[in-house]
């Protein structure tokens, strides 16, 4: 764990206590069973707002605390432990980052206070295919009058059903596959021509497919530069990747705790199974791996807080997302294997962690995507 300030320690402890008391995995299970995927709204969402988490990345002028990404990461890690899938990441990290990096002062003033008080929920609607690939954006925005008309499909949008507004990268020039020619738009979820369908994914988080069928927006819906959004989109995504890595550390950390607890309690052949070195050594390796992964996740968050150059942030974000992804992948597999039969049952929580792990791995680019990107960034 990075050396934390007093304030960060307080926020982390608060977050861990909240997750433990207010959002045990039993609550996630109940949500899953009621098929209300992603519907962590109402009281729980209000609770997060009251804790101030929605304002961690928002300037004080707009009602936030501006405490930075490492601090946000502490909260996300706590939430990740109990699989608390909320719009916090999508709105208060990804959405708020997009507004801060690309939005005008007026746009920030119009939107960010709502993000802080929870009345506005933002979601970045970036992917169009089954795999993360922002440059492949095909959704078009055609100039019309002094505004634009958006047409296209956005798929697997995180928190797509609870969002009140989408941040939509669309093509104002160029062809799918090209980085040039993209523009970011802020589109209200109730805009005429926008429709969405909730999806049932294996990890019971709230995803939606969003269809933009000639959605007309004004010029004031453009976030940042027309045609030149790719760099800022990538910067927003790097913040998303770093933040998600923190959440993944939480999910992997809790899975690992469950695993070690089981190794200490389950007996076979008259002794605890953790005494079999075939298992104990693997656990020791996972612990080592966890430490390495943690360093990457924290370094990525810190590089953002320290205003490192965009290329450094990009490197660190890809390093973190790939490295933490591999770690979570490993731990989620071993969690099941080392539990034996009980790990295969729906009644036990292990399966939730396996399922969430793969969804987190795929979101904002999987390990392969980020290894490739890392290699390119380093010039290999």
């Amino acid at each position: 764990m990075a050396a934390l300030t007093e304030e960060q320690t307080l926020i982390r402890d608060q977050a861990e206590a909240w997750v433990r008391d207010e959002f045990p995995v039993t609550k996630f299970r109940a949500m899953r069973d009621s098929k209300a995927a992603g519907a962590i709204m109402g009281d729980a969402w209000q609770g997060m707002v009251e804790m101030g988490w929605t304002g961690i990345l928002v300037p004080e002028a707009h009602g936030g605390s501006d405490l930075g990404y490492l601090t946000f990461g502490l909260v996300l890690e706590a939430l990740g432990k109990n699989l608390t899938a909320s719009p916090l990441l999508a709105s208060a990290l990804v959405g708020a980052s997009a507004l801060r990096l690309a939005g005008s002062e007026a746009q920030q003033a119009a939107v960010l206070p709502g993000v802080v008080d929870g009345s506005i929920i933002l979601s970045l609607a970036v992917d169009e295919g089954a795999r993360h690939n922002p440059a492949q954006t095909a959704c078009t925005a055609t100039a019309q009058g002094d505004g634009f008309v958006l047409k296209g499909e956005k798929r697997f949008v995180l928190e797509g059903m609870s969002a009140t507004h989408f941040i939509v990268p669309a093509r104002t020039a160029g062809a799918p596959g090209e980085e040039a020619g993209l523009t970011l738009f802020l589109v209200a979820a109730d805009a005429a021509g926008l429709s969405r369908t909730g999806l049932s994914l294996v990890d019971s988080r709230g995803y939606a497919d969003v269809t933009l069928d000639n959605v007309a927006v004004g010029a004031d819906a453009v976030l940042g530069e027309v045609d030149g959004a790719f760099p800022v989109l990538d910067a927003v995504l790097d913040r998303a990747r770093a933040g998600l890595s923190a959440e993944m550390m939480g999910t992997a950390g809790q899975a690992f705790t469950m695993l070690v607890d089981y190794l200490k309690t389950r007996e076979q052949f008259g002794r605890v199974i953790g005494s079999f070195q075939a298992l104990g050594h693997r656990a020791a390796q996972m612990f080592t791996d966890q430490q390495l992964a943690r360093s990457c996740a924290e370094a990525a968050l810190a590089s953002i807080d320290n205003d490192a150059p965009a290329s450094t942030v990009a490197e660190m974000a890809s390093l973190a997302k790939a490295r933490v992804g591999d770690h979570l992948h490993l731990v989620s597999r071993e969690l099941i294997q080392m539990h034996g039969g009980i790990g295969m049952t729906d009644e036990y929580d292990a399966g939730f962690y396996l399922k969430r792990a793969r969804a987190l791995e795929a979101t904002y680019g999987n390990q392969a995507f980020h290894r490739e990107r890392y290699a390119s960034l380093l010039g290999y």
Partner: protein
């Protein structure tokens, strides 16, 4: 192989092929193999017809003697039969419909059973009409199976069973059960066990399905409350159940050494073709994602190495499938190949490989996800991967073992 036998082999293959062509119901082509077997509807009727046709040939369990419902064929001939059925786009439903009957209980009965027991039980298995489950594991006796507690008390003409089994696959839909029970509580762990056969449809047996992470409920908690097993259904000598079950588990491993498994079973499209469909290809037809391409290639090599090893072992055993420690090697290798394939499948499908249900996903995608989750079990049941490694290090490498004290 001599020319004479290979000519005979070709003739045999020819005859199997034409029989399959004449008898395989075309509507079953490329249907996924189902443990549950015939439900209802047209497909189920076709499946029953197909089962009965195969059973008529003795091909439900081709290597068993004709007298017990088999066809008295060699293992090599049996392989030809399954190859030819596979070639027609089908599968042999009998080993599935019989639960643990064809793969485990039957072979063990052939070795240890009395003539009377063989006559009573084998034909029902070979016809696919009697389904068997296996009551071995208990909540506190998994890898350490010999630590089990279910008791069987001698009641003169029968045993009365009391205790709990768990993870009993198909217990709720089986007609018969093979159970490992304690008949001599005073003896050291492994010396007081016996293997008994008992019908599931009786007041003393209760099953409660357990739901898996894949959503299905293929196994149960099984409770014995004065459940009755006839003395005549004791398999092998009294208190020698450990030897019987060791043999049975070797048969189980031997049946689990095929690495087709999840994500590949019966589907004709190659893994690379599926990958290109989801992950795209370059102008010269290579998989776009170079990292995925490298890992897919490694997997394909692993799968091929596994297949070649299976062939080599079969050839070295001169057509007799060797049920031995080699089964542990092959089980672990098969498990690793199958599980890697499943992980690669869901990875290459991206978000589409994460669907749970709903029209947004294609059936093949939803199936892949469920198979991926279900497939996590194959390195756990039938002796976990770790237990197989213990067997390899002890029985093949001769390393001292640390777990067994009586």
């Amino acid at each position: 192989m001599s020319t004479a036998t290979s000519a005979a082999g070709d003739a045999f293959r020819e005859s199997v092929r034409s029989w399959v062509e004449a008898n395989f119901p075309p509507e079953l082509k490329d249907q996924p193999a189902s443990m549950e077997g015939a439900g209802d509807g047209d497909l189920a009727q076709a499946l029953e017809r197909w089962r009965d046709a195969l059973a008529g040939q003795g091909w439900g369990a081709p290597t068993w003697p004709k007298a017990y419902g088999g066809a008295g064929l060699t293992p090599a001939e049996a392989r030809v039969i399954s190859q030819e059925i596979g070639r027609a786009g089908g599968y042999n439903p009998i080993p599935l419909m019989a639960g643990m009957g064809v793969t485990m209980v039957g072979p063990t009965l052939l070795e240890y059973g009395t003539d009377e027991q063989k006559e009573k039980h084998l034909p029902g298995i070979a016809s696919g009409k009697i389904r068997w489950c296996l009551g071995l594991s208990e909540p506190n006796a998994g890898s350490d199976l010999a630590g089990l507690a279910t008791k069987a008390e001698d009641k003169g003409d029968h045993f009365a069973l009391n205790g709990q089994k768990i993870w009993t696959s198909g217990a709720d839909i089986s007609q018969w059960c093979g159970a490992l029970v304690r008949t001599e509580p005073q003896a050291p762990k492994r010396d007081g066990l016996s293997f008994v056969l008992l019908p599931m449809d009786q007041p003393g047996v209760e099953t409660r399905p357990i739901k898996l992470i894949s959503g299905a409920s293929p196994f149960c908690e099984t409770y014995f409350n004065d459940a009755r097993a006839e003395k005549s259904d004791l398999l092998g000598p009294l208190n020698k159940g450990w030897s019987v079950v060791k043999r049975l588990l070797q048969h189980e491993r031997a049946s689990q050494t095929s690495a087709r498994g999840p994500g590949a079973g019966g589907k004709s499209e190659s893994l690379y073709a599926i990958a290109k469909r989801y992950a795209g290809e370059t102008a010269d037809g290579k998989l776009e994602d170079a990292d995925l391409r490298a890992r897919l290639t490694r997997h394909l090599m692993d799968a091929e190495a596994h297949r070649l090893t299976a062939e080599r072992i079969a050839a070295e055993a001169k057509g007799n499938v060797e049920v031995s420690a080699a089964a542990s090697i092959m089980k672990n290798s098969a498990t690793s190949v199958s599980q890697t394939r499943s992980e690669l499948m869901i990875e290459l499908m991206g978000y589409r490989g994460l669907g749970w249900e709903g029209e947004a996903f294609r059936q093949e995608e939803l199936d892949t996800v469920r198979e991926w989750l279900w497939g996590k079990a194959i390195s756990i049941y039938g002796g976990s991967a770790e237990v197989q490694n213990n067997i390899i290090s002890k029985n093949i490498l001769g390393l001292p073992e640390t777990t067994q004290k009586g």
